[in-house]
Amino acid sequence: MSDDIKVSGFKSSELIAGLQAGFAKTSDSERQSLIKKTNGIFELQVSKDGQVATWTIDAKKTGTVYKGKATPKADVTIILADDVLVDLASGKLNGQKAFMTGKLKTRGNIMLATKLDNVLKTAKAKL
């Protein structure tokens, strides 16, 4: 099943697959807590060498990750390059910087996009 979500040639493909697997394994209460904190549907339009792959992270209704456009409509669509997504997830790049330098474009609620950080990053240390 996780093979369906992959798009060959995309580095972020693995990342998304991992995210999907992670989402699938989370318990209901954890999913609820993620939804409560995030409350948004993200559509990712990832481009590489002229190709575009689209994935959706639903952290609002169902708590799932799937390939293709968001249904229902995404709260925010994030348009970025393959490498940028990988850097974002690994923490090399932060969302605001990426946005300000034009590496990342959005349609919809930009501030919601900043919460993607919490979704992509698995575990965060606390102050």
């Binding site: 992670g22 954890e30 690994s90 300000m100 501030m111 240390a125």
Partner: protein, 631 residues
């Protein structure tokens, strides 16, 4: 530099979308700009202070200068004095840089060449020196100052009208840094030359400043010669500059149409080369975001199960829930549970135990100093015990009580940190602003910033609050004060913005004054860990835990770092020990730790164990002990 001023500002605002202009401005090297706004984080660096002084004085655009840092141009000249090596190289590199600058800045060729010549001339005149020694050393600073003050402006003189006021100032202020940096960026050999020369000069300068008296004899004559050769040039360039400057200040009119159009075209061409098709919905979406209230999610999300925020982005929290079976409730009222809890915390006792005492104390009305002390202590204890939700609520109570009593301040910093951990960025900014106003009531806060808290996005408020904190830090720095709390605030601000490197610097600076503050060690560790350096983070956590072995949060963080390194078994062990520590007194533990434990177990490819680590039925930890986990 406030973002807002760029948005609404400058006379140069192009006919097109002003926001796209902002983007152009921000395309520049912001990292450097930021770096130099951080005087104290970079340690007590001489150059920084002086740069700041230059900038400040520049913005004031008045008055006689105080002390001075030599401009790189000056450095080049100075380098000729001691020994003389490095000087020519630097000079050459410098001239080449100037030519390179042409690619970036629309300087007219003739002026450019003129400047280089003007710049080059005096350095050759410096060597043949004869003098009467009467020159007092005190004349030096002023001359240096004047010169360095002039150079950046002279250089950008021709481009300034096109940048308009704010642009001009911006470049003036940063010219020294950007140029130096570009020098380093290009060509290995030149970089080496440049750096060597720079280091040498820096060294010689320090030497000079440390023993001005001795240097006097050797340097005076050179000085005077320099002064002589330099003075009239200065005065001409000064009048030129002043003329332009005054013209600019006097007139509200934009610069000549032709120049502006030309510059626009050039700039656009350059920028577009880098940014191909990004222009269209990028600018417009940002504008849209700016206009619509960004922090407000109330329109587009489902009701219920959602966190409410007040006007300033502070989350509206449920009241604190006390433990139902608190053995300390039965204690006779003569015992001061508050004092006992404090003593227990002092002796590194169990955090959960101390929290129970504090809860009982509060319920019995022993609120301590100002009615907020017990609440805040309870909140901080809960947070240390990795129970953010409870901690946040208790801190909120404490902060409200303190505000109601007219003694705002205590607990605000801790609450801001809690908000940061829970990604309530705006709440955190708002709390930091309140903290700053409460603890430094004399520091001016622009009206605009106060109103921005209600209307603007977290990105905007972040810029504003950071600016405020930096201002105060600079002010302190100039008086030789280092306020660790201010550093913590700054660190939190950088951390909120995922600027973990700067956050780390701030916490490290604060640690310089409070080396035994385990909270700070943990914060340093978290900055490192989230900044993708989990290995280094472990060292900081170790310090924290050696000072406070029952610090549950630090144990949890060690687990997170292990998880990020890929040491899943060790990570699980740390999470398990955090859980057992929490359960030791109340039998309850935090859900978040269980989630993370589950993740670690899944990463170990032990779904069987992960199934036992369900939040719904927090299992007996002995199961894990039998599985060989050592905790």
């Amino acid at each position: 530099m406030s973002f807002q001023s760029l948005v609404s500002g400058s006379e140069c605002a192009a006919p097109a979308n002003p926001l796209s202009q902002v983007l152009k401005h921000t395309e520049g090297d912001r990292s450097l700009q930021q770096l130099h706004q951080l005087p104290s984080t970079a340690g007590p660096s001489v150059a920084n202070e002086q740069d700041l002084a230059l900038a400040r004085q520049f913005f004031d655009a008045q008055g006689p200068p105080t002390s001075f840092a030599p401009h790189p141009a000056e450095l080049a000249r100075l380098s000729q004095m001691p020994g003389g090596q490095g000087g020519p190289n630097l000079h050459e590199a410098w001239a080449m840089e100037q030519q390179k600058q042409q690619a970036y800045r629309p300087l007219e060729d003739s002026k450019q060449a003129g400047w280089v010549a003007e710049f080059g001339a005096p350095s050759q005149v410096t060597s043949p020196v004869s003098s009467t020694q009467q020159q007092s050393i005190s004349a030096r600073p002023e001359f240096q100052q004047r010169n360095s003050y002039m150079s950046p402006m002279g250089m950008y003189g021709s481009s300034m009208p096109m940048y308009g006021m704010s642009g001009g100032m911006f470049h003036g202020m940063n010219a020294t840094h950007t140029m130096a940096d570009q020098g380093k960026g290009k060509g290995k050999s030149r970089e080496a030359d440049f750096e060597a020369a720079f280091a040498q000069i820096a060294a010689s300068l320090q030497e000079q400043s440390s023993r001005i008296e001795e240097v006097k004899d050797g340097v005076d004559d050179i000085n005077e010669a320099m002064e002589k050769t330099k003075l009239h040039e200065n005065s001409t360039s000064e009048t030129d500059f002043q003329k332009v400057w005054e013209e600019l200040q006097a007139s509200e009119l934009p610069p000549p149409e032709g120049d502006m159009a030309k510059w626009e075209a050039e700039f656009n061409q350059l920028m577009n080369a880098q940014r191909d098709e990004l222009e269209d919905d990028y600018g417009s979406s940002m504008q849209k975001a700016w206009e619509t209230n960004l922090g407000d999610f109330s329109t587009d999300s489902v009701p219920g199960g959602r966190i409410e925020f007040d006007d300033e982005g502070v989350p509206v929290l449920e009241p604190y829930i006390f433990e139902k079976n608190n053995k300390y409730m039965a204690e006779p009222p003569t015992r001061s549970l508050l004092d006992e809890a404090k003593a227990l915390l002092e002796q590194n006792g169990s955090l959960s135990e101390a929290a129970l005492m504090l809860e009982a104390a509060i319920q019995k009305g022993q609120l301590g100093e100002g009615g907020h002390e017990a609440w805040i202590l309870l909140g901080e204890t809960r947070n240390m015990d990795e129970r953010e939700e409870a901690g946040m609520r208790a801190l909120m109570e404490g902060v409200k009580k303190a505000e109601a009593n007219g003694t705002p301040g205590p607990g605000m910093m801790s609450l801001a940190i809690s908000f940061t951990n829970e990604s309530y960025d705006k709440g955190s900014h708002s709390m930091l602003l309140r903290w700053l106003r409460a603890t430094h009531p004399t520091h001016p806060v622009p009206e605009e910033t106060l109103s921005a808290m209600k209307t603007n996005s977290a990105w905007d408020t972040h810029t504003r609050i950071t600016e405020l904190f930096l201002d105060l830090t600079r002010e302190h720095h100039s008086r030789g004060i280092l306020d660790p709390d201010l550093q913590i605030g700054l660190g939190v601000l950088f951390y909120t913005n995922s600027d973990y490197d700067h956050a780390k610097d701030c916490f490290a600076t604060a640690l310089g004054t409070r080396p035994r503050d385990y909270l700070l060690w943990n914060r340093l560790g978290s900055s490192l860990s989230n900044g993708n350096k989990p290995e280094e983070a472990l060292g900081a956590y170790r310090e924290a835990l050696s000072l406070r072995p029952t610090y549950t949060r630090a144990i949890y963080n060690v687990g997170v770092a292990c998880l990020n390194i890929g040491a899943y078994k060790e990570a699980s062990e740390h999470f398990l020990s955090a859980i057992s520590l929490q359960e030791s007194s109340t039998g309850d533990s935090n859900d978040q730790i269980w989630y993370t434990l589950r993740r670690a177990l899944l990463s170990m490819e032990r779904p069987d164990l992960a199934n036992m680590a369900q939040v719904e039925n927090k299992g007996n930890l002995d199961v894990f002990r039998r599985e060989g986990f050592d905790f």
